[in-house]
Amino acid sequence: MKTIQVATTINGDAVEFVCAPDEPLLDVLRNRLGLTGAKEGCGTGDCGACTVTLDGRMVCSCLVLGVEVEGAKITTIEGMATGNQLHPLQQAFLDHAALQCGICTPGILVAAKTLLDRNPNPTDTELRYWLAGNLCRCTGYDKIIAAVQDAAQKMRTA
């Protein structure tokens, strides 16, 4: 299959890559750009482990073609911390033991940050519905909810 050249911005950096026309963005990130923070749990939009933002909206990168992101702005988990300074959500996940195996964590962090960017003070119910597309099989979600709420509170008072 003939590859196509694509120019895009990932985590603030200009990036160019080539990919096959049927190649999902997730495969581009993981296999061509070495950004393996987004995970493939299903490849069909059901688990949210591959969540990134595309022009500010969160999407499953497994449901976006690489060729579609020409000129777009993408953020991934790798862009969340500022150098060694963790984002408050990342710190809260550590403090609250909100990850067990951690495979869902990158996707959940990206999703939670997208919510808090819009709604700094969500209710538990809003948060649970917002995260419904991010499966976590280890934690039962309890500590994830606690961690996001703690981070939200810290971000509001920061």
């Binding site: 299959m1 196509i4 096959a20 026309p21 049927d22 999902p24 490849g43 069909t44 939009g45 059901d46 949210g48 969540t51 595309l54 909206r57 969160m58 999407v59 499953c60 497994c62 449901l63 976006v64 073609l65 060729v67 579609e68 999703a111 997208t114 919510l115 519905y129 917002w130 419904a132 597309g133 991010n134």
Partner: protein, 287 residues
């Protein structure tokens, strides 16, 4: 496989009609990419319509709304005027998938995927929405209800695409509601669903109604008997019971991994009744 991103609808139509192999229109891709992954389709050409002007915008028109075919569920949900006028249509669209899927999925994609369980469709049918179709033979407006042909198939001709949806102007004291049943709270495909669109007179009597049912037949059902059961009533208990019965009676469902015939038939009635109550309240009716 080829990937094309035409910048006019005419060009899209040209590409699609000229193609010899399997083609797919790409809007949000939340059905198309799943089908690619599963190997269900191996298109020779993918036509990404998102670069066609107007296809991602939503604007007022003739007292109603024209919604570009690739407007995402999330964008619909953020449009306050649309949500106020058509809460049933927009809640149907917003039930699709997760927040991630919402970032991409379109109502037109939902319609053209032609699943009997599509969540955007019953609301649109109840709303009597139309779509604008562009193709090799020009442009036509078609009722949403006329688009699905059978599971996975539409009545669109080769080379045709839908460019927008039109939701008409609202009479006073009108509103709508959509409910679906899924076994979880989120992330599921409807086992049965109902969209109800109502207009009341000043006294609260229903003067017009459209009731559409999803996932209980090969395509969405517009059930006249349901409308008849409530038109001229104030949605009293007798009317609601008649509505429920008419809805269940209209069902022609199948048994599958998601639900039984018995379950779908019963629950479709329950949902029609519950959706009617919500729509009635939204239209200003008091029960």
């Amino acid at each position: 496989m080829q990937y094309a991103k035409p910048t006019t609808a005419a060009e899209a139509a040209r590409l699609l009609s000229a193609a010899s192999g399997v083609t797919r229109v790409l809007a949000g891709g939340t059905d198309v990419l799943v089908q690619l992954k599963a190997g269900m389709v191996e298109p020779d050409l993918i036509v990404d319509i998102k670069h066609i002007p107007g296809i991602r915008t939503l604007q007022a028109e003739a007292g109603g709304f024209r919604i570009g075919a690739a407007v995402s569920g999330a964008e619909l949900g953020e449009h306050a005027a649309l949500c106020a006028a058509w809460p049933g249509v927009t809640e149907g669209a917003q039930l699709i998938g997760s927040k991630q899927v919402q970032g991409r999925c379109s109502m037109v994609g939902n319609l053209c995927n032609a699943s009997p369980a599509g969540d955007a469709v019953p609301g649109l049918v109840a709303a009597n929405a139309t779509v604008r179709v562009e193709g090799p033979n020009g442009t036509r407006d078609v009722a949403v209800h006329a688009i699905p042909a059978s599971p996975g198939k539409t009545t669109l001709q080769k080379g045709e695409i839908i460019t927008s949806i039109f939701l008409p102007a609202r009479a006073p004291r009108s509103s709508d509601a959509y409910l679906r049943f899924i076994p979880r709270s989120e992330m599921d495909i409807a086992v049965a669903s109902a969209g109800v669109n109502l207009t009341l007179d000043a006294a609260g009597t229903i003067t017009a109604a459209r009731v559409a049912l999803g996932a209980v037949a090969p395509t969405v059902l517009l059930v006249d008997a349901c409308a008849k059961a409530i038109i001229g009533t104030k949605l009293d208990a007798t009317a609601l019971a008649a509505l429920e019965k008419a809805a269940s009676a209209a069902c022609k469902p199948i048994d599958d991994k998601r639900g039984t015939i018995e379950f779908r038939t019963k629950v479709a009635g329950v949902l029609a009744r519950r959706a009617a109550v919500i729509a009635y309240g939204r239209a200003g009716g008091k029960l």
